[in-house]
Amino acid sequence: MRRARLRASVALTAVAAVMLAGCSAASPAPSESGDTATLTVYTDQHAELVKALTDAYTTKTGVAFNIQNDATAGQIQAEGSASPADVFLSEDPGPAAQLAAAGAFVPLDQSTIDQVQPKLSDPKDEWVAYAARVRVLYYNPTLIAEKDLPTTLADITAPQYKGKFAWAPSGAFVATVQYLISTIGMDQTRSFLEKVKANGVNEQSNGNVRDTVEAGKHAMGLSNHYYWWVKAAEVGGPDHMTSKIYHFPEVDPGNLALSSGAGILKTSKHQAEAADFLAWLTAPDGGQTILADGPIDVNEGQYPVGVGMTSATVGSLSDVKSPVYDMSIFADQAQAQQLLKSLGMSS
């Protein structure tokens, strides 16, 4: 009896030791030497897209990847000089612009920048756009006809739409507000937001806006275009969707294009390999083909940004009438955040 108990405790200790040893062995150490480097990618982009892009690059070059999903600029800043990150792939322009402004990135090759449509990347060439999303209005045709939709974002606060639209204080919404402040000024932006708050329903996230419009809870909703395509892919195609995507007919902040940005960290020990990866990511015969022609459950209908590239799913970014503007306005969005917080409209 005594021996059995002793044996049990010895066994338990052994199991614990093996487990801890196994755990540390299970995590791949980034290779410091050897023929091909392992690139560490930090990203807050959708995991499937990053996986498809990095897998394709591995197949082509043999370069392996460590991937940190749901990464934040804060994690990189907390890591400081010890950060294992080589490349940062953002979803919205904000985090890329923020890291660039903090001096975290190195300047990129001009040839890489030149592969991408103008005005989508950092004006100082410290991050490059590799994909884009646009702001849209979803609507549910069982509740509102297309001809009755507002023709500009500003019109959504008109009395006839009171209580009929959803919005969400997402990163893209903050970016829209920052854009509005930089164009129409603080006072007009504030009065627009006050009306949005009074007339619309805060559904907290872009995905919830899509779901609630699709389910018929709201007639319209402000969101990003690709959420709709994700849902469409899930239910078996656009024909199975009740709701529809609406782009405002003229150049309008409601059609704002927002880049996903790629940058190389100053602290990276694989500068050359990282630069090669970004060159491929933005090349028309490289990463851009996955955005243009890849399956929708992989690229989610996000727009390719390579010069002359068109998505087989959602068409060309140049067909969407987004204002042309300087994406570095998103490096410091304190004004927009402050405004939203003071109105009680932050997430």
């Binding site: 005594r2 199991v15 614990a16 487990m19 801890l20 196994g22 755990c23 540390s24 299970a26 995590s27 791949p28 560490t40 959708h46 995991a47 499937e48 460590n66 991937i67 940190q68 999903n69 749901d70 934040t72 804060g74 994690q75 800043q77 907390a78 890591e79 400081g80 010890a82 294992p84 985090p95 923020q98 204080p169 903050v174 996230s205 872009n206 995905g207 899509r210 779901d211 609630t212 389910a215 018929g216 809870k217 959420y227 994700v230 849902k231 892919a233 899930e234 239910v235 078996g236 199975h240 459950d297 989610e300 969005q333 304190a334 955040q337 917080k341 003071s342 009680g344 932050s346 997430s347």
Partner: protein, 516 residues
């Protein structure tokens, strides 16, 4: 004697070290900086005070519902003649296997699919009910044991003095449950304070969701830290309140063996209806998750491919991390639990309370603190499973400590003294007397830590080794496009709930002894 003294000093030192280690992440808030000015700014926003009020309100409301549900269900299985008591016990404990954010996600999806125009679960009341239904088993499990250990002689004495049944309950029975109730309510309160995923799904802005938004949506870390300081202050208040609820220890009985089986209230003809009513609790708690998971698995219109091998691999990783966390937390908690139950002093109480504090800050802030500290102090451990398991231990240590305390209370000091008088050495006494008696509590603590670790999401996202995923992060990745109908999440939810049922079963199996 001097060896014995040396042993005590070593234990005390180990306990103090564990306490300091678990406070280390909090130190990050001060190292990285937060400013009183920033905290002052927070109060100029119209949302801050409502957020605090809502956070406190949700915490109090969830605790209140858990208290009623937990005590009522425990009394039902231990003190009444309700049929299927053992089955009911298992069912009452089962909601513990479902992570809060999965449960919230499932009820939200169900709400949206079947009643899209109604805000049923996204109101304060809805969120309270959903959260309470996932958390009440903490009270239930603690109270089953405590109710069973009450010496019926005290209640009989009260009845013989012609006290009303309600008076007997409120003045004799309930006070004896105070320790069990206070401990479990504290766990629940801190859970609610730091819950992120479920609150987002249920649309409740709390301090934690605001902190996460500052970090994720706005990249404003100074503001996140300032809000965290507010949240930690709330947690300190809860810890003090916890001390007040538990109060001074009440004598339970002379010893475990002396407790007679209590008389059960005869339900008579009400047995059927009471059973049906009782079954509604677990049905409401796990029904939506089970239903939406099964629905998601049989939905045919989806053309998204389920990679079951990936789901299985995630299951293996989750199991490994959970087991590692359970074992390591057990080792770390023992000196603290031992110190506070065997040598109670102001210092031992400080050590015990400090392991609770880390439980109260949002896991993402804690993870960021560990990122900051690990990359500077132990860079070799960063992005390894070891650091992630250490994070789980820091987060869930209170579960181990509090259950070990219960276990050590069962191993009465006087048994140890009796063994000593028979000439046994300290080590022999520990191994042959105290440990076996304390083992159930220790095991329950380890299982609960493992269970919570396997459900954890936000810190895992940040600290997980590269190119691996757990069930929770796998499920989270499927909500990336924020699915309407739970279909992509279903396989992960299925494995997560099955895996979570194992520790719940192991815990409840021990509890079943008390409901015979």
């Amino acid at each position: 004697m001097s060896r014995l003294h040396g042993g005590r000093v070593a234990l005390g030192t180990a306990a103090a070290a564990v306490a300091v280690l678990s406070l280390l992440p909090l130190a990050y808030l001060f190292i990285a900086g937060f400013s009183p000015h920033e905290i002052g700014m927070l109060f100029t926003y119209p949302t801050t005070i409502p957020d605090i009020v809502r956070t406190v309100g949700l915490t109090v409301a969830v605790c209140a519902v858990c208290l009623v549900l937990g005590v009522a269900t425990a009394l039902l299985v231990v003190r009444t003649t309700v049929p299927l008591r053992r089955t009911l016990t298992v069912l009452f404990a089962l909601p513990l296997a479902v992570p809060g954010f999965v449960s919230a996600y499932a009820v939200y999806s169900m709400n949206l699919v079947y009643a899209p125009r109604l805000d049923i679960v996204t109101s304060f009341t809805g969120a309270t009910v959903v959260m309470a239904l996932t958390l009440y088993p903490y009270v239930f499990l603690a109270c089953v044991v405590a109710v069973r250990n009450i010496d019926p002689a005290q209640e009989e004495a009260a009845r013989s003095l012609r006290a009303q049944p309600s008076a007997v309950f409120f003045r004799v029975t309930l006070p004896q449950l105070r320790v069990a109730i206070a401990g479990s309510l504290l766990i629940i309160a801190l859970h609610v304070l730091s819950e992120y995923g479920a609150m987002v799904q249920l649309r409740q802005r709390t301090l934690t969701t605001t902190i996460m938004a500052e970090m994720l949506d706005y990249g404003d870390y100074a503001s996140a830290r300032s809000l965290s300081v507010l949240l930690v202050s709330l947690a300190v208040l809860m810890l003090l309140a916890g001390r007040m609820v538990s109060g001074r220890p009440v004598p339970l009985s002379v010893g475990r063996q002396s407790v007679r089986t209590p008389t059960r209230a005869r339900l008579g003809r009400a047995r059927g209806p009471v059973l049906v009513l009782a079954l509604l609790v677990p049905l409401a708690a796990i029904g939506p998750t089970v239903f939406m998971t099964l629905r998601g698995l049989v939905m045919t219109h989806r053309d998204v491919f389920v990679d079951w091998s990936q789901v299985a691999a995630s299951g293996g990783v989750t199991l490994l991390y959970g087991a590692g966390a359970g074992l390591l937390a057990t080792a770390a908690a023992l000196p603290v639990a031992w110190w506070v139950s065997r040598r109670p002093s102001p210092w031992s109480h400080v050590a015990e309370r400090s392991v609770w504090l880390a439980h109260a800050i949002p896991n993402a802030v804690l993870a960021l603190a560990l990122v900051f500290l690990a990359t500077r102090l132990v860079p070799g451990l960063y992005k390894t499973a070891v650091l992630l398991i250490i994070a789980y231990v820091v987060m869930f240590l209170p579960l181990a400590v509090s259950n070990q305390q219960v276990g050590l209370q069962a191993a009465f000091v006087r048994y140890d003294e009796a063994a000593a008088s028979l000439g046994h050495r300290a080590w022999q006494r520990l191994r042959r007397v105290s440990l076996p008696l304390a083992l159930p509590g220790i095991a329950t603590g380890a299982l609960l830590v493992g269970l919570d670790a396997s459900k954890e999401l936000t810190a895992t996202l940040m600290l997980l080794p590269f190119n691996t995923q757990t069930l929770a992060t796998g499920l989270w990745a499927t909500t990336n496009g924020q699915s309407l109908d739970f279909t992509a999440a279903a396989p992960y939810a299925l494995v997560l709930v099955i895996l979570g049922s194992i520790p719940v079963w192991l815990i409840v199996r021990r509890t079943l002894r008390h409901v015979r």
